[in-house]
């Protein structure tokens, strides 16, 4: 597999370029965002904004903390499995070029299982988006495409890792390149906006004593 110079070029130089492009777009986005004025309560605070921010950012690991995830635990479970699969797939795109991981390795088998689960969840999410009127109403083409893209990405990953075939590797890494270039402009880039939104949510509601409430009722 590694003897294919073209594939090596795709996995290394092209990936580095795509990754650099992604980083630059994110950097520009963050700079644009940080140029905007910040918002912070000027009143005497009741709670602790820093504690609020920590609790808010940790919310992702606390399905019991929000009613919406508490009552839709399967939705949270799907979310966790899907994002774990995405993280492992992205990790794979680094480990294979570095020679740390080879198709057929025990770890690659774990990743294949994760990708398969991710694929199933992705398909289910796509169907949910198509069939539920309230979700369909808020869905843009990018919402559908992003899910479809990830599903195809998972499939190609399963093919590549499962068989180790050269063609499969080409497909997987071409998709990886496209993924890296497209993601900064799509909804998939929510992981960049997520910490900011969660931070301000935590600072505001923490400061007001709504979340991470002070132990005494009043101060």
């Amino acid at each position: 597999m590694m003897e294919d110079g073209g594939l090596r070029f795709l996995m290394e130089e092209v990936q580095y370029m795509a990754l650099s492009f992604m980083g630059l777009v994110y950097l520009a986005k963050v700079i644009w965002f940080l140029k905007k004025p910040t918002v912070r309560d000027k009143a005497h605070l009741k709670g602790d904004p820093a504690k609020g921010a920590v609790v808010s950012l940790a919310n992702i690991f606390m399905p019991w903390a929000m009613e919406s995830t508490r009552t839709h635990w399967y939705f949270y479970l799907e979310f966790a499995l899907f994002h774990l699969a995405v993280a492992l797939t992205i990790l794979t795109t680094f480990l294979i070029p570095f020679g740390v991981m080879e198709p057929g390795d025990p770890f690659s088998k774990v990743v294949v299982v994760a990708m398969a689960v991710g694929f199933v969840v992705g398909v289910r999410r796509l169907l949910r988006r198509i069939t539920k009127p309230e979700i369909r109403l808020i869905s843009s083409p990018d919402d559908y495409f992003s899910l479809a893209l990830l599903d195809i990405f998972f499939l190609s990953g399963i093919w590549a890792l499962g068989t180790g075939e050269r063609t499969a590797m080409w497909v997987f890494f071409i998709l990886t390149t496209f993924f890296l270039v497209y993601v900064p402009f799509s909804k998939i880039s929510h992981y960049i906006t997520y910490p900011f939104a969660r931070w301000y949510y935590g600072v505001n509601f923490g400061g007001r004593g709504v979340i991470a409430r002070p132990s005494r009722a009043f101060r």
């Binding site: 109403l137 301000y200 009043f218």
Partner: protein
């Protein structure tokens, strides 16, 4: 005054049905529809209001739909257009087209769209008429989207074009022209306070009892919702009785005593600042240590949290809500209560602005556990409480009244579920909406403010 008493004693009568026309008519009524020339100005406002909170809230939504069931409009009607993400998307579409890099080139791909008259009318219908800016959706959003900042911006984009509900505009105009939102004159206020004073002198058998007016150096500057002197003087009576029992130093100003600030509901910062400035200067004029906010949800939030942001400075006094002071008195043993005087089952409705946006979550529970014999929680409570439907200025928007009552179904069902005879709350808008829910859904409950239950349970020494 007899009329006022009759009204006050029947808390089930809604102010919406008894409120007179504003005494000062607005100079110019809201216009019936948007015009194409409004659009550039609305976009200019969006640009001016773009801060990190708004930008992150507009950019972060992944359209997962987990907010959908959080909205009482959706939960009660199952209308998909009432999903919070859909309502927020009305502004998000404009953001995507104007700010999102891919959206500028391929707007449809990311759900972007130019702001036009059709979209603006849709915003008016859903953002004024199907959102109370309660923030329940935010507390159920995995991404941390602050819907209130989105809705508030959208509301101001419309209000600045004079496209806002007539009742809301009239309420604000009256406040700006007279110093309180019901146009109550200083003489009327003094007369009402003096009458309450006489009532309490008789009840307490103390001819020296006074309700201090304009007293410099008092510790607490007590504000009121104009509904209190106008329709519910028993609320002032309850407050005065409690403050007397606690031997508290307080005063009522006859100038800027109105706790409300309806500009919060239009996102009109300039006028919100003007009203907050009046309040702040009056408290500072009398040299009070605290502004004691009436049991008024949005009034509390406005003066406790937003005023400093609007004014750009911390006022020279602290702000405390009446609910907070009650809890403090109970915990410090400054008032004695006999819960057997409130023997019926009581449940508590958390006013959105005081709870979700104001942080008053545990204090009402401290008060009710001490003041009533049988307190039960609603299924959804604290920051997860469903809005009653009276928030966001909804009570002033008569054109959306039918929808407001339909959206209250989920709250009505929860109240019925508790078997409570009394629904306590801490907000006059909630009182009026709950009273309407009570009639509409035939719940057979009584709606009371916390101070009224506490006053009923007071053991005078």
């Amino acid at each position: 005054m007899q009329d006022k008493m009759a009204v006050a004693k029947d808390m089930e009568i809604s102010q919406a049905s008894i409120a007179p026309k504003p005494e000062v008519a607005p100079k110019e009524g809201p216009k019936p529809a948007f015009e194409p020339q409004d659009i550039p100005k609305m976009l200019e406002i969006l640009d001016q209001r773009m801060n990190r909170l708004l930008a992150s809230s507009l950019a972060a939504c992944v359209h997962c739909g987990l907010c959908t069931e959080a909205c009482h409009y959706y939960a009660s009607t199952k209308n998909p257009e009432f999903a919070p993400a859909y309502k927020a998307d009305l502004l998000r579409k404009v953001y995507k087209k104007r700010y999102d890099w891919l959206g500028r080139i391929f707007p449809r791909w990311v759900g972007g769209r130019d702001l036009d008259v059709e979209l603006a009318e849709k915003m008016y219908d859903l953002i004024f008429g199907a959102c109370t800016v309660c923030r329940r959706c935010s507390f159920n959003c995995p991404m941390g989207v602050d819907y209130a900042s989105i809705m508030s911006t959208a509301r101001y984009m419309m209000a600045a074009m004079n496209r806002l509900p007539e009742g809301l505009k009239a309420t604000i105009d009256v406040h700006l022209q007279t110093g309180n939102n019901m146009g109550i004159t200083e003489e009327e206020l003094i007369e009402t306070i003096q009458w309450i004073e006489e009532e309490l002198q008789a009840e307490l058998e103390d001819p020296t009892f006074r309700i201090p007016l304009n007293e410099k150096g008092a510790k607490y500057f007590l504000t009121m919702n104009p509904r209190e002197p106008k329709y519910y003087p028993l609320t002032i009576q309850a407050e005065a009785k409690i403050l007397h029992a606690a031997k508290e130093s307080y005063t009522i100003s006859t100038k800027f005593w109105d706790a409300t600030n309806y500009c919060l509901f239009t996102g009109d910062v300039a006028n919100a600042r003007k009203i907050a400035q009046w309040q702040a200067e009056d408290v500072e004029r009398l040299g009070c240590e605290y502004l004691l906010a009436a049991e008024c949800g949005h009034g509390y939030r406005s003066i406790r949290w937003e005023a400093a942001n609007w004014l750009g400075r911390q006022p020279k006094f602290k702000v405390i809500g009446f609910q907070e002071l009650l809890a403090q008195y109970i915990q410090e043993g400054r008032i004695k209560l006999d819960p057997s005087k409130n023997p019926h089952r009581v449940t508590y409705h958390d006013p959105c602005n005081a709870a979700k946006s104001g942080g008053i979550l545990e204090e009402p529970r401290i008060v009710l556990r001490a003041a009533v014999e049988d307190f039960v929680e609603l299924r959804h409570n604290r920051q997860y409480s469903y809005c009653c439907g009276g928030g966001g200025g909804a009570l002033t928007m008569t054109e959306f009244a039918k929808r407001r009552l339909e959206a209250a179904k989920v709250k009505a069902e929860e109240i019925a579920e508790t078997g409570a005879k009394i629904v306590a709350t801490s907000c006059h808008n909630c009182v009026d909406q709950l009273a309407e829910i009570n009639r509409h859904y035939k719940l057979g409950v009584e709606v009371k403010l916390l101070c009224e239950l506490v006053a009923d349970a007071l053991v005078m020494e």
